[in-house]
Symmetry: C2
Subunit: 265 residues, 2 copies
């Protein structure tokens, strides 16, 4: 699907991570408006869980998989909260004239030891073919080894980009892009506008073996970037931009000049 | 799955069909309570659309399949409303201590000319295996000939009962069971407590060729019963009971004496 774009709306951008179950409705609404203005022909949106998914997932240790019956309440509750956040996102898109449709990953993606082992893409192809916009999210899924686990939106984005041969991925986060160090704690951190795959792989490697690195991104950012290696390798254009700044997502989707980081082969 | 029970909550029972988008919250809550008391080991719940699905589906002629771009808004809106109804049902079950999980059919079932042609049952098996209760619903789905169509909860119930080898189906509707004529218009209508498959097939046949029949059930009931022929044939116990009468769903799930209609091979 040559013209397919995949937009990831980071949980840290669309929710307030400091307060459980608090969505940034104004941000979601503006992002839906930017998407409707950019009018991409084929678009899949994947959003994170932020303060809707993480507190319960952590409390019930869902990422570790099934250990005790007491976790099932946490599984059900986490899904309920994710469906509420998803509804807010879908509603915002529909109200901006985007024919958006919720497609919960639990129902069509499974993992093996935390990595996607089964994904039925035909429903997404069908929806895109009709002109609809599927909205997915980081979800609790069935895992053949762990029983269940948490599947990140980033892993979904990368997998779909590769298998559906996407043209572009836009990772919309709460920072301007990839920095030389953590911009939230180091005022001297500098934005990297172009990050090559070799540099990226080096960073990920360093990050997983030592605590220091040349490109000192946050832990979350490292995980995100690591997932992007296969799509970048395949030629998918990947941009990291700030969803909290008006216009960035629009510019990135349209292929206009945009402040952020471009990942390059 | 020998002990699997499938409960269909009819749209006419859980919503008020005379008012668009009106859920009978008290009925849904009581039904969730009856299920939690009956505590079936393996249970799948499928609910209908009632006044949440039908008005929009009719307005945008969704059952006819994709004809015009203008229907896409209707597709998106119908799904939004169905997700809202589904949330109400899931919430009620969770609040009664049932670890219920929404599994939207759009994401894992597809049809060909209105009949199910693909269904990925592994997610349901995974959820049941963990002790969770999947909650499905009549949904808009991708159809390889029509583009999309409306898939009834009844067709889903029958298909799952056959492929997962269910023990029992409980169809919970807004009437006491199958009558000799339409109980809503004919005060002389009599409840049929046992309906054999041969009689049932005869009825369905008559109904589709003539306007009169020996067992004069409503059009909706005929469609429902027709779907049940394969599971009844396979030995699945099928009960039609009234969800609006307290205790009937509980009794049917528990295998107690219950007022209603039993379909027999």
């Amino acid at each position: 699907m040559a013209s397919l774009k995949i937009l990831k709306l980071g949980g840290s951008a669309i929710t307030d991570k400091t307060k459980p179950f608090s969505v940034r409705k104004d941000v979601v609404k503006r992002l839906a408006w930017e998407v409707s203005r950019a009018k991409p022909k084929n678009l899949i949106v994947v959003h994170g869980g932020g303060s809707f998914g993480h507190p319960l997932a952590k409390k019930y240790r869902l990422i570790e998989g099934f250990k005790a019956k007491s976790q099932l309440k946490g599984f059900a509750e986490t899904r309920r909260m994710m469906m509420i956040l998803n509804k807010t996102v879908v509603d915002a898109f529909v109200s901006q004239g985007v024919d958006a449709v919720s497609v919960p990953p639990l129902a069509f993606i499974r993992t093996s030891n935390g990595r996607i082992s089964f994904i039925d893409e035909d429903v997404l192809k069908g929806l895109l073919g009709l002109g609809l916009t599927p909205i997915l999210f980081g979800d609790v899924v069935i895992d053949d080894r762990l029983g269940f686990t948490i599947l990140s939106g980033d892993q979904i984005v990368a997998k779909l980009a590769v298998s559906l041969k996407a043209e572009k991925i836009v990772l919309a986060s709460d920072v301007d892009g990839v920095f030389t160090s953590n911009p939230k704690t180091n005022p001297k951190a500098k934005l990297i506008s172009k990050l090559s795959l070799s540099k990226l792989e080096e960073t990920v490697k360093l990050k997983s073996t030592t605590t220091e690195s040349m490109v000192d991104v946050t832990g979350t950012m490292v995980g995100k970037l690591k997932e992007m290696i296969p799509p970048v390798n395949m030629g998918v254009k990947v941009f990291v931009v700030n969803a909290l700044k008006r216009g960035r997502v629009f510019q990135a989707l349209k292929g206009l000049r945009v402040k952020g980081t471009k990942l390059e082969p």
